[in-house]
Symmetry: C2
DNA sequence: TGATTTAATAATAATTATTATTATTTAGTA
DNA sequence: TACTAAATAATAATAATTATTATTAAATCA
């Protein structure tokens, strides 16, 4: 991923460009599983052994506060992180513990339409998404993927 | 809530009827906020000071394993519990930290239709729900409810 | 550019939420 | 009623996350 894009994204939120932030953001952008803070830490520590786990947590929280990334609660209770901030949905895969993105403009339209039609008294809707839960099937053996 | 219904529900899963289980299940059924284990513990301990927090956790987990109740991950990372097992959606209210049920047959139909139409390769969908996030509005003052 | 200021980080302690352990108690059943 | 397996209380342990503080680095500005 382009380093310039990364530094610009961080700077655009008025945040200082630091090596740690670049590395954490880069790792999150490169991941497709919606990693935990610890998974990001494990991934970056080989090439950056000086970065501490607490810094990873702090950095991620800073990004979330500045709406550069999103937090995703997962069914097993640990927080996951998502570099995407545009509209999309998630599929939680229970047998691999992955969280995958699910994109479909049609779905977004359907949901927007639906919510517009309905009345929600005294409630200001700030977000909505279809949460799909499923299990990956090994096409040969059936559902046995760990 | 009817004690007989509660004991029957517990027994229907082949679980022993204990005072602790009755009290925990009763408290969950009576709650509309989708409480945490600790909130249930706080609520029941006045009339049942001998029940320990660990028992509340254990009891809830037993209920979840036996599909008598459901676990609901929340945006702030702590687990919430839900006595309902029939199809319904949730609205997470960020300014009060409540989780509310949202029921609509039409929505269920829309989503079922949609998912049936789409192809998900190598994925067995086990659950889906619309996750709505919002904030309660004080009709007089605007959004200021804590 | 170099000094200064302010924010960020590393190291680690502390906290919170949850799970595990084990001795004791209890529910279901013979 | 007594037996046996399961459940509970008390508490220790663990996992995930947050707080603290001394140190370091980035941005500002003279």
């Amino acid at each position: 991923m382009n380093l310039e894009i990364i530094t610009k994204a961080i700077a655009s939120k008025g945040l200082k460009i630091t090596h740690q932030r670049i590395v954490v953001y880069q790792a999150l952008l490169a991941s497709v599983i919606h990693p935990t803070a610890e998974q990001i830490y494990d991934q970056i520590k080989e090439s950056n052994p000086a970065i501490s786990l607490a810094t990873v947590y702090k950095t991620l929280e800073t990004f979330v506060e500045n709406r550069l990334i999103n937090k995703v609660p997962s069914p097993n209770g640990t927080m996951r992180y998502d570099a995407r901030t545009d509209y999309h949905n998630h599929i939680y895969i229970s047998n691999t513990n992955e969280i995958m993105d699910y994109d479909d403009i049609e779905l977004k339209e359907i949901l927007l339409n639906y919510l517009k039609k309905k009345q929600f008294e005294n409630l200001n809707i700030t977000d909505f998404k279809l949460q799909i839960k499923g299990e990956k099937i090994d096409p040969i053996k059936g559902i046995t993927i760990s």
